[in-house]
Amino acid sequence: MEIRFSDIIPVPIPEKDIKQSEVWNRDICFNAAEMILIYADSGKGKTTLVNIIFGNRKDYSGDVFIDGTNVSQMKYDDISVLRRNKLSIVPQGIALFDELSMIENIRIKNRIFNFKTETEISQMIKLLGLEGFENRKAAKMSFGQKQRVSIIRALCQPFEFILLDEAFSHLDVGNTEIALNLIKSEANKQNAGILLTSLSSDFNDELIKYRV
C-alpha cells in the first residue's frame, strides 16, 4: 500500500506551523512495510493527519492518495472497504464501547472477518497484561487498559497500514515495548506498514521520522 500526501494543508493548522512542518504542504509518500513516526508537540496536527488518511476529515486543501485513489473522492462504501481490509487504527480517543465488556469490544471488531481465533485473542490479552479483565465493562477500565484493548482490537483485522495515534500515551515503557513488538510482529505477518504519532521522537531508530 502507498499513502501519498500532495501539498496537504489542513484548515485548522496555523500558517507558521505549516512552514515548519515536514509533512504539510509537501509531497511525501508512506509505503507498506515502512514504520513511520510522526512527532510533534500538541496541536500541530498529528491526529488531523491520521484522520485525513482514515477519511474522517475533509477540511484540507491538497490531495491524499491511497494506492492512487484520492481519499476525498471516495464514497462511503469505498471508505468502509478501506477500513475493513487495508487500514486499521488505534485512535487517540480509544473509541471503545463503554457498555460492552473488554472481550466484547474486541469481538465486535473480530466478528467482521473472524480474523483471529479466540485462542489468539486470549494470547494477545495475556501478553498485554489484561488477563482477568475480559468481562469488565470498558467504562470501568483505566485509560492505559483501554489503550491496550484498543491495540488488540486493531490487530483483529487484515491491514496494509496500521495507524497508531498516540497509542502508547498512557502506557509505561515496558508495556509500550511489549505492545509495539506485538504490533510489529502482526504488521510483519501482513507485510503492512505502521504509522505512529507521538509527542516525542524518542523511539528506536528503525522508524522513519517526520515532524509535523
Binding site: 462511503y76 468502509s80 477500513r83 485512535p91 464501547f97 483485522q157
Partner: protein, 401 residues
C-alpha cells in the same frame, strides 16, 4: 452485539406512546378506509342499495293553484315545460331527465262479474315512464298496437293501503301480490267520440314509482287516438343525478320550487352525511397517524443522534451503513408489523359490527378482508416503514461519514 451498542437511549415510555399512536392511527385510518371501500358503490351510485339513483320531482302545488284551477279550466297547471326540462338536463350534477307520460283521455276500470272482486268499478288514471326506470323486471312489459292486453304495475303502497287499511276495516279478505296478479280487470278508454276495451292484469308492484304504470307505447297511442292532447306536458319528472347526495342538487330543486320525494331526500341527506362523516374520520385517522409518524420520525432521529458516538465508532471499525442500519431496520419493521397486527383486532370487530348492521339493511356487497384491510393497511405500513428506513440510512451516513 451491535444491537447492544445501538439500543442505548431507547426510552420504553416513548416507544410505548409511539406504538399506541401508530396503532390508534392505523385503526382509525384502516377502519374508515375499510368502511369507505365497502360502501363505495353507494357513494358512487352504482348500486341500487338505497334505490336512490332516480329522484322523482314535481312542481310545488300551492293553495292559490287549487283556487285558480277551481275557478277556471284555462289556468295553467304546475306542469314542466320543454325549456324547464332542457335546463334541468343542462345542469352539471344531473345526468339525465325522463318524463312521466300522462294520458289525456278518460279511463275506467272494472272487474269480471265472476271474479273474486266482482262488481269492482273505478275511474282511473294511467301513467308511463321509459322502461329502463322501472324497478320490476318483467319480460311481458310491452304493449303493441292491436294488442288488447295491457300489463300494469301498481305501487306497493296501494296494496298495503288496501290490505292494512281498507280490507281490515271493512272485513274484506287481504290479498297477496300473486293473488292480485291473478285478477283480470277490464279497462275502458274513451275520447274523441270513441271507446275501446282492454284487458289488464297487475304484473308487479313497484317500490320506487308512486303511480299506476302501463307501457309508454300504450299511453302514446292512447293520447293520439283518444286524447285531447297528443303530447301532454309532464307533471312529474325522473331525475338521474350524477351524485344523488349532492347538496347542490337539492339547492337547485329548492330554488326552482320543485318538490322531491321526502324519503329520497332523507336518504340522500343520510348518504351525504355518511360521506362527510367517513371523510372526517379518514382525515382524523390521517392526522393521528401523521402525528404518530412524526413522533416516530423524531424519536428515531433523536435515537440516532444520541447514539451518534457509537455509530461513528462502528463506522471506524469498518461496519457499513447496511450493517449499522440493519438492527434499526429490524426494530422498525417489527414495531410496525406488531402495531399493524394489534390494530387488526379492533378493526375486525368494527368491520363485523358495521357489516352485520348493513346486512340487516339488505346490503351484501362486501369486499374481502384482504382487499379491504390487509392490502391497503400493509401498503400504507410499507410506505411509512420505507420512508423511515430511508431516513435511518441517510442519517447514519451523515453521522458516520
Amino acid at each position: 452485539m451491535i444491537w447492544k451498542v445501538l439500543k442505548n437511549n431507547i426510552k420504553p415510555t416513548q416507544m410505548a406512546g409511539t406504538f399506541f399512536g401508530i396503532m390508534l392511527g392505523l385503526c382509525i385510518l384502516m377502519g374508515a378506509l375499510s368502511f369507505y371501500l365497502d360502501v363505495r358503490p353507494v357513494f358512487e351510485d352504482k348500486e341500487s342499495f338505497w334505490k336512490d339513483e332516480y329522484i322523482i320531482i314535481n312542481k310545488q302545488i300551492k293553495l292559490t293553484d287549487t283556487y285558480n284551477q277551481l275557478k277556471s279550466d284555462t289556468v295553467s297547471k304546475p306542469l314542466f315545460t320543454k325549456a324547464e326540462i332542457e335546463n334541468l338536463r343542462n345542469e352539471v350534477y344531473i345526468k339525465d331527465v325522463a318524463e312521466f307520460s300522462n294520458c289525456s283521455f278518460m279511463i275506467s276500470a272494472f272487474s269480471d262479474n265472476d271474479g273474486p272482486l266482482s262488481g269492482f268499478y273505478t275511474d282511473l288514471f294511467l301513467e308511463a315512464v321509459p322502461d329502463k326506470y322501472i324497478d320490476v323486471n318483467y319480460a311481458n312489459w310491452k304493449w303493441e298496437e292491436n294488442s288488447d292486453f295491457i300489463p300494469a304495475i301498481l305501487p306497493k303502497t296501494y296494496l298495503n293501503l288496501y290490505n292494512f287499511g281498507f280490507a281490515q276495516s271493512q272485513n274484506l279478505p287481504q290479498v297477496s301480490e300473486e293473488g292480485v296478479g291473478l285478477v283480470k280487470f277490464t279497462i275502458m278508454i274513451q275520447g274523441q267520440g270513441k271507446k275501446q276495451k282492454f284487458e289488464t292484469r297487475i304484473i308487479g308492484f313497484s317500490d320506487r314509482i308512486n303511480t299506476i304504470l302501463v307501457p309508454e307505447d300504450f299511453i302514446k297511442w292512447g293520447n293520439k287516438n283518444f286524447g285531447t292532447d297528443i303530447d301532454p306536458k309532464p307533471g312529474r319528472l325522473i331525475v338521474i343525478a350524477n351524485d344523488p347526495s349532492s347538496p347542490d342538487l337539492f339547492k337547485y330543486f329548492d330554488e326552482h320550487k320543485y318538490d322531491v320525494n321526502k324519503n329520497q331526500l332523507s336518504n340522500s341527506k343520510a348518504l351525504a352525511f355518511l360521506k362527510i362523516t367517513t371523510t372526517i374520520v379518514l382525515i382524523i385517522g390521517l392526522i393521528i397517524i401523521s402525528l404518530a409518524f412524526a413522533l416516530m420520525f423524531i424519536s428515531v432521529q433523536l435515537l440516532l443522534y444520541r447514539n451518534n458516538q457509537n455509530i461513528r465508532k462502528l463506522s471506524m471499525l469498518g461496519y457499513t451503513i447496511n450493517n449499522i442500519s440493519l438492527p434499526y431496520n429490524i426494530m422498525l419493521v417489527l414495531f410496525f408489523v406488531v402495531s399493524f397486527a394489534v390494530a387488526l383486532i379492533p378493526l375486525f370487530i368494527f368491520r363485523d359490527f358495521y357489516s352485520s348492521n348493513l346486512m340487516l339493511l339488505g346490503y351484501e356487497k362486501f369486499n374481502t378482508i384482504i382487499t379491504n384491510i390487509i392490502m391497503p393497511g400493509a401498503g400504507f405500513v410499507v410506505i411509512i416503514v420505507g420512508l423511515l428506513l430511508l431516513m435511518v440510512r441517510t442519517q447514519i451516513k451523515k453521522i458516520s461519514y
